[in-house]
């Protein structure tokens, strides 16, 4: 491979598109939201900033899913647990940052006062420090993924078995977090955040900053993903997806490869969760429900597995439609989502982007 790193990752057009995306999200959106007056036709309301920010978080999750499913053939139905754990770690910091401004004017978060707890549980220690909380965002889901993945991949659980066990994993975690005694606010989770790093969390400036950070994270993870799938590591992963036995017969041990991509994917998910919580303002165990995790798979499938841009588009499409549908005809959203599941698997197995690529390739062949 004689190509430079930049040309290995993207062609010139794609680089331009990525640059444009970054400029729009980091410069244009803040300007339209903050500098353009509210009455103007060009003003971008905070509602849209929050909504798009949220969808970008989902897009990061879909990207993480694509790395394990699209490129390595491991379908996880439990990615919600990593997303939620990242969110909870961030939420712990945000809860501590409320300080004494809660309803009970206590140093402890409100729900602990409500449970009549006198002091913080050990796992809450240090969460008032932003850096420690950010470390938790990465470490906790990463470790869980590493341990779970090690045992699962070592005994060569794969395919549907693996999917079902990951689903059980997130289900168990959801049940655990629903309990008040677990110490994460039970049913209600965390909400009513006041500030992050001293900035008011509802201030437009804070929101725009979080939005820009999410966009940068998205672009960064896209580059990282591209770096991985174009490397030798990426080829081994694709080989594992296509014929794991042959990879083993060729002298490779799939365990470290799978474990690496699985853990990385979990960490990316967790970071998306950590970005999601301050923008949406709530985290509760519902994020861990099996239904949520399986939806992630359909974002990826709709956009196109095995293409890195596809899942981003899929997540954007489905969640865009969802936020419109659930307002306009909430009754029919499940029909729509259900039909997407069925139709995409039946007639669009490559996803939107994959299908487009196939058409272009055909055209080029003809030409």
């Amino acid at each position: 491979m004689n190509k430079t790193l930049s040309s290995r990752l993207f062609g010139p057009k794609a680089w331009a598109a990525l640059l444009a995306f970054t400029l729009v999200t980091v410069v244009l959106v803040p300007v339209l939201n903050l500098a353009v007056p509210e009455g103007s036709a060009f003003h971008l309301s905070t509602y849209w900033v929050t909504l798009i920010g949220k969808i970008m978080c989902y897009a990061i999750v879909a990207l993480a899913m694509d790395l394990v499913w699209g490129y390595t053939g491991i379908l996880s139905l439990g990615h919600g647990i990593f997303f939620a754990l990242g969110g909870y770690a961030m939420g712990m910091y945000l809860m501590r940052a409320i300080g004494r401004e809660g309803n009970y004017q206590s140093d402890l978060p409100d729900f602990m006062v409500f449970l009549n707890w006198k002091e913080l549980p050990w796992y809450w220690q240090g969460t008032e420090h932003f850096l420690w909380a950010m470390l938790l965002v990465v470490l906790v889901p990463g470790l869980i993924a590493l341990v779970f993945g090690f045992f699962a991949f070592r005994s060569r659980i794969k395919g549907v078995y693996f999917s079902i066990i990951t689903q059980a994993l997130t289900y168990a975690a959801m049940l655990l977090f629903f309990r008040n005694e677990t110490g994460f606010g039970g049913n209600n989770g965390f909400t009513d955040f006041k500030r992050i790093l001293g900035f008011a969390i509802t201030a437009p400036e804070t929101r725009v900053t979080l939005f820009a950070l999410t966009a940068l994270a998205l672009a960064g993870f896209l580059l990282l993903g591209r770096y991985i799938v174009t490397s030798k590591l990426g080829r081994v992963l694709a080989a594992i997806r296509d014929a794991e036995s042959r990879v083993m017969f060729s002298g490779y041990n799939p365990l470290p490869y799978k474990l690496f991509i699985w853990t990385l994917s979990a960490v990316i998910c967790a970071i998306a969760g950590a970005l999601y919580v301050p923008q949406v303002g709530i985290i509760n165990p519902g994020e861990m429900s099996p239904a949520n995790s399986i939806e992630i798979a359909i974002w990826t499938a709709v956009g196109g597995r095995g293409t890195l841009v596809g899942p981003l588009i899929g997540a954007g499409l489905i969640n865009g439609v969802k936020s419109w549908f659930t307002v306009a005809f909430p009754e029919y959203w499940l029909y729509f989502l259900g039909l997407i599941f069925i139709l995409v698997t039946l007639w669009l197995p490559r996803g939107v982007v994959g299908q487009l690529q196939a058409w272009f390739n055909k055209k080029e062949e003809r030409a």
Binding site: V160, G338, I342
Partner: protein
């Protein structure tokens, strides 16, 4: 027994009863009657107990008068029964010429009413009807006082029924605990100790309590006996609890088994991962609901049998939906298990919303017919509900039926053939696509049966299926693919393990522990409990 001997016996019994009533033909003690009409509540209660204890049929009209509020007091000196027209002296039975104006109502509070019930029960102990006697014995057990002892002894002497006799003996023992005779107290304690009843334990416990400095029971050896009796009751109750949790475990296991059996065919044998399996269960439950409504509307007389009618309907409804699913969607995805998973998840979403739109998002009412409600009282603290027993029996029948279908019918033979080697089966002339459809229909129909059974023990709502899908997949994964026996053992094992852990750790932690156990178990045996032996390549 020869007929003559039998007749002699009957005659003797009749004679005894006759004698008994002749002896009792005395007027009730006058001071008791007066106390009843004119005394305060405590006096009334003592009087009632004494009157009931006398077992005198003459007392009955008096008690009825008190119950019907026709017993009046006249100037606090005489008891008059006034039925709206004539006034009779309750003591002498003579009619008063004129109805006096100053008649006062006898007011009874709750405690008096209870004592009155007990008194009536005392009379009902002599009734011919067994159910009446049983009722009476139970009422008396609640309100055992030393005053009714003679009555209990008499009733016991005449009682032939073992169950009623047992209750009476316990009641008698309860009244004997304060007897002056140490031997009587000891035998009463032994009696109560053997009963295993929680309220007998409370009675015995009261002997060990202190009134001021002294024990209520002065005799040391009697106290020791009481303590032993309490211990024996405790161990009896513990046994009951253990059996109870074993039973709930088995019943949960049968529910899991019913829910997972269909999956054992569609996933275990055919390798189709059907995330809409839970919704097929839900459809079975709603089919049962519709049958219930139809029967109630058009043939209320058959209501008792509607679950039996619902069984085939639920089977057919779910089987039909399953066949449609197979023909329209799943057929095109064979060999792509992950896509099948997603597509069937989509189907499940559509089905849930469909049911919500048709039946509403709320749970619907499915009632137990009379023969499925209530339960057997197996031990003092162990009741086996009929609907749970029925589910266990139903699960057994379905398992047997299914294994017969798989091993004894042509369809079963084809299904097994296609499972083992699709191409080879096709080569020897098995119509594999048709077998796929039928097998999938069979698995779905069994899900419908599970729904029919579940509707009798739990809520029926659009989300019914979602709560079973993960559990039933766990059963199949644990049991091993392609084996019915594995499914059976896994379901029962998980059910019992779950209930055992619930005792220590609560429902949620138990569930989490079970999931962790499964994940760890699969480390050791990735193919499940019962692996099919053979040489398969993994893809």
């Amino acid at each position: 027994m020869t007929p003559i001997l039998a007749r002699i016996r009957t005659t003797c019994a009749a004679l005894a009863v006759g004698l008994f009533s002749v002896c009792a033909l005395a007027r009730p003690a006058p001071e008791l009657v007066l106390q009843l009409a004119t005394g305060d509540n405590d006096a009334k209660i003592t009087a009632l107990a004494a009157l009931a204890g006398s077992a005198d049929p003459e007392v009955l009209p008096l008690l009825e008068a008190l119950r019907d509020d026709t017993l009046k007091s006249l100037e606090g000196k005489r008891a008059i029964i006034y039925d709206g027209e004539t006034a009779t002296d309750a003591l002498t039975g003579e009619k008063l010429a004129t109805v006096p104006d100053e008649l006062e109502d006898v007011v009874s509070n709750n405690r008096v009413t209870q004592a009155l019930d007990a008194a009536f029960a005392a009379f009902n102990l002599g009734a011919d009807d067994r159910a009446t006697r049983l009722d009476a014995a139970r009422t008396l057990q609640e309100a055992a006082t030393p005053a009714i002892r003679p009555l209990l002894e008499k009733a016991l002497a005449n009682e032939k029924d073992a169950q009623i006799g047992g209750i009476l003996r316990l009641t008698l023992a309860a009244t004997q605990l304060r007897d002056a005779d140490r031997a009587v107290r000891l035998s009463a304690i032994r009696m109560l100790g053997e009963s295993g009843e929680p309220n007998a334990r409370a009675l015995l416990g009261s002997l060990l309590e202190k009134d001021g400095a002294n024990y209520r029971e002065a005799d040391e050896s009697v106290r020791v006996a009481a303590q032993q009796a309490i211990n024996s009751i405790n161990s009896h109750l513990k046994l009951g609890e253990a059996l109870g949790s074993a039973f709930t475990g088995i019943s949960l296991g049968s529910i899991l088994l019913l829910a997972a059996l269909g999956l054992a065919i569609t996933y275990g044998l055919m390798g189709v991962i059907n995330m809409a399996h839970g919704e097929l269960i839900m459809i079975g439950a709603y089919a049962t609901y519709m049958v219930q409504n139809l029967v109630q509307a058009h043939a209320p007389g058959l209501f008792a049998f509607y679950p039996l009618l619902a069984i085939p309907v639920a089977f057919c409804a779910s089987a039909l939906v399953g066949i449609l699913m197979e023909r329209l969607v799943i057929r095109h995805l064979y060999g792509r298990p992950l896509e099948t998973l997603l597509a069937t998840w989509g189907i499940s979403l559509v089905l849930i919303q469909l049911v919500r739109n048709v039946f509403g998002a709320q749970n619907v009412m499915v009632e137990n017919p009379a023969w499925l409600s209530g339960g057997v009282q197996a031990m003092s603290n162990l009741i086996l509900p009929y609907n749970r027993l029925a589910i266990v029996a139903f699960a057994i029948i379905v398992v047997i039926g299914m294994s017969l279908i798989l091993t004894r019918t042509r369809l079963g033979l084809f299904v097994r053939a296609v499972t083992q080697n699709r191409q080879m089966a096709g080569c020897v002339g098995v119509a594999t696509p048709r077998v796929d459809t039928l097998a999938f229909g069979l698995g779905s129909g069994i899900a419908g049966l599970a729904g029919c059974a579940l509707s009798q023990v739990g809520n029926v709502g659009p989300d019914l299926g979602q709560s079973y899908i993960i559990d039933s997949f766990m059963v199949v994964v644990l049991g091993g693919v392609g084996q019915l026996a594995g499914t059976v053992y896994a379901a029962l094992g998980l059910g019992i393990l779950n209930k055992l852990l619930e005792g220590f750790a609560g429902a949620v932690l138990a569930k989490i522990t079970v999931l962790v156990v499964i994940i760890v178990f699969i480390q050791k045996r990735p193919q499940g409990l019962f692996a099919v032996k053979g040489r398969f390549a993994d893809n």
